[in-house]
C-alpha cells in the first residue's frame, strides 16, 4: 500500500547583522557591500559577520562593485545562465544570474551589476550581471 501526501512548509529566516546590512544597502543605495578581514586580508562578498576561513569577527564593511569579473558559469535548460562573479574590490565570488545576450562566455570577462527599479531588500534586487561590451557601453 502507498500513501500519497504533500506538506507545505512555511519558513521565516533572519539575515543576521551582516546580511541585513548588505540587503539594506542594496535596497536603499543600489550598493553592493563586502566585508574586509584584516587577518587574511581578503574582502568577502557578500558581507559577513565573521571571516569564514580564519574566523575573525568585527570585519569592516566596504563598498564593492558595480563592475565585476566572470569566474565560472553554467547553462541550465529553461532556467537561465548562472554564474559565479567576483565584484570589483572583492576577493571572493557571488552566485547570480548572467544576463543576455550570452555567446560563449569566458572566465575573466568584464561584467556590470544590473539593479532592479523596484527593490525590497532581497538578493534579487540585483537583476543579474550583464556582459560589458568592448566599446564600453
Amino acid at each position: 500500500m502507498i500513501r500519497e501526501e504533500a506538506i507545505k512548509i512555511p519558513f521565516q529566516y533572519a539575515a543576521g547583522t551582516a546580511g541585513s546590512e548588505f540587503l539594506i544597502n542594496l535596497r536603499d543605495h543600489r550598493q553592493l557591500t563586502g566585508s574586509r578581514c584584516s587577518d587574511c586580508e581578503r574582502t568577502l562578498a557578500p558581507a559577513r559577520a565573521y571571516c569564514p576561513d580564519c574566523g575573525r569577527e568585527g570585519l569592516h564593511s566596504v563598498n564593492i562593485g558595480p563592475g565585476a569579473e566572470l569566474v565560472s558559469w553554467t547553462i541550465v535548460p529553461d532556467k537561465g545562465v548562472f554564474a559565479l562573479v567576483r565584484p570589483d574590490g572583492a576577493d571572493t565570488a557571488m552566485l547570480h544570474k548572467l544576463l543576455g545576450p550570452i555567446d560563449d562566455p569566458q572566465p575573466g570577462i568584464r561584467l556590470q551589476v544590473v539593479f532592479r527599479e523596484e527593490r525590497s531588500g532581497h538578493i534579487n534586487d540585483i537583476e543579474g550581471f550583464a556582459i560589458v561590451q568592448e566599446n564600453g557601453e
Binding site: 502507498i2 501526501e5 506538506i7 519558513f11 529566516y13 539575515a15 546580511g19 540587503l23 568577502l44 562578498a45 557578500p46 569564514p52 576561513d53 569566474v71 565560472s72 558559469w73 553554467t74 547553462i75 541550465v76 535548460p77 532556467k79 548562472f82 554564474a83 559565479l84 567576483r86 571572493t92 565570488a93 557571488m94 552566485l95 547570480h96 544570474k97 572566465p107 532581497h122 538578493i123 534579487n124
Partner: protein, 384 residues
Amino acid sequence: MRPVAIIGTGQTNHARCRDDVSQPELVREAASRALDDAGLQPADVDAVILSNMELFEGRALPELWVGEGAFANGKPCMKIATGGTSGTSSCIAGFHQAASGLFDIVLVVGFEKHSEGHTQTGMALTDPFWDRAVASGALGNFALSISQYMAERGVSEEQAARVAVKSRRNAARNPHAHLSDANATIEDVLNSRLLAYPIHLMDMCPQSDGAAAIVVASGDKARKLSAKPAWVKAAATRHEQPYIGDIEQRLLTMRTLRDASRSAYATAGITEPLKQLDLAEIYEPVTYAELAWYEILGFCAEGEAGHLIEAGVTGIDGELPVNPSGGVLSANPVGATGVIRVAEAAAQILGRAGAHQIEGAKTALATGYGVYAWADAVILGSAV
C-alpha cells in the same frame, strides 16, 4: 586507541523504487545481511550508528523511525549527519567508538528512500538568502565548477563519458547496483539528456532506494570472529566553509578531500597511492568529479586524469581499479552511499566482493563527499 576492523558488510538490492518495503524494513534488510556476513546475532551488537539525509523522505528524525530496524532497541543509537559524507562519517564514528574502548561491536547502517520524498526539495532548501533566492535549487553542486575544471585541466566531455561507461560496465558485475549496462558506450553518455552544461544525465549519479551496513569490531573481537578482518589503517575527515562563492576553484582544489586523504595516507604510510593501493571506492557524484578526484587523491599529476581514464589505469583490470562496484554513478541511496564505499572496500579485503573482486586486494581506499563542505578518507588493510 585500540585497533579496529570491519568483519561484515551487508547491502540491499538498490533500485529506483523499493516500495516493496518500508523504511525500517529496508534498514533491516541491510542490517541483517551485515550481521549474517559477520556471523553475529543482534544481541552481539553493543551500539548502533545511523546515517540518512534529513528531509529527502519528508520525515523528521529518520533515526527515530528506523532504529528498531537496525536492532537498536535497548542500545546506544544515534545518527551522524555530514551531508553526502554522512555514510563515511558514520563508519568513522563507529571506528572511534570501538577504538576508544566504549564498545566492542558497533553496527553502522545508512539508508535512503528517495522514491518516498522529493529529493529536489530537500536539495533546494539551501541557504535562503544568497543561494536559494537566486537559483531556486536549479543548480547542482558541480555545474558551476566543471567549466573551470575543463578549461584549466583540458578535460574533454568524452573523457568524462568514459568514467560513466566504466561505472555502468563494472556495475554489471555487482548484483546490488541500481544501474548497470555491460554494453554502455561513450555515445550513450554523450547522447543522454543535457541536465546543465556540460553534465548529461549519464554523467550524474542517480537517486536510489537502498541501505548498507558494516559491522565494526574491536581488534580482539575481530581476531576471534573473522579469519580475515578488514583492518582500519586510517580515517580522516575535513570540513569546509559552505558558500559557493567563497572558494572559486572548488573542483580544482577540493581542499577537504585533499587534506583528508593526505592525512590518511600519512597515517597508513602511503606515499605512492597508485602503486600502494590495490583498489579505491571513491564517492564520485558526477563523472567529472571522479577525474578531479584522481588528481586530488594523488593517483596522477594535475592535468593527467583524462589520460588515466583513457589508458584504463582505473579500470577493473587496471593498475588501480577505481569503483569496481560501479560506484555512486551506479547506485546512490545518499545516506547509504558512504557506507557502501566503506562496505565495498571492506568486502574486497574480506575477499567477499563476488564477481567484482580484485584478486589479492590488501589495501583499499574509500572516500566520502558531502556538498564540497565535507570529505572523508578511510584506508583499510589486510594486516593490523
